[in-house]
Symmetry: C2
Subunit: 109 residues, 2 copies
DNA sequence: TTATTACATCGCAATATTACGATAATAAAT
DNA sequence: ATTTATTATCGTAATATTGCGATGTAATAA
């Protein structure tokens, strides 16, 4: 099949999974890290930075945009991309909620 | 192609992506949440809990095991699964490193 | 020994993802 | 108006993922 049965799970579980999927490719992780490190916003010279084709980078940027983690603003002929701080914090909390749900002093295993 | 070019990225980027991929399915998120909530370790009555076939659950459990997030110990005829606290903390830090790398007071956008 | 129970693995079909060349689309420069 | 530069989208090939029935495996029960 290859189709996830989203109706079996809670909205939050589906949301976390969808967000995690965006982090689940090293190119997208690299893009995010690059946007963080370059404190000024950077346009698509990511093509130079990473070794992927322009079309491929553009596709990854779209996925990051779709989940809301980054925003792009047209700057003349090029586009400035940057991280959306609001969404960034939101996503951080999503993961934090899951991670902190596990009490380190659990007696099993 | 459909094959990720891991050689283009750092080890840490690849590792984070690989771990994120495990979180990128609601069934696996649900399994983790169930293991957290059931503070005693639980065997595969996840099949009852989630609405997926036994083979499918087993497959998801394997992926969680392969990345090290859970451990299974044979208990007679059944298997007790539980979260590995060490690895759990490790993975939490992986994400935390990325999230905290972004300073909320960034002047762009 | 022969069931029975609980999981794991195999094999397959349906679908999703990754990557890239080719081709738009848009704005500035000549 | 034509070229140039930058990004987006389309189409496609290669590969990966998801889900499950069927089957295998190992331990207990009868």
């Amino acid at each position: 099949m290859g189709v996830t049965k989203t109706d079996l799970f809670t909205e939050k579980q589906n949301e976390l999974a969808k967000v995690a999927k965006v982090f689940a490719h090293p190119a997208r992780v690299a893009i995010l890290e690059y946007l963080i490190q370059a404190n000024s916003c950077i346009n698509g010279d990511l093509v130079q930075e990473l070794g992927l084709a322009q079309a491929t980078i553009s596709q990854h940027l779209r996925e990051l945009k779709e989940i809301g983690l980054i925003k792009g603003s047209i700057e003349g002929v090029s586009v400035n991309y940057c991280i959306d701080p609001i969404r960034w914090a939101e996503v951080q909390n999503l993961f934090q909620d899951l991670f902190s749900g596990f009490p380190k002093i659990s007696g099993c295993c």
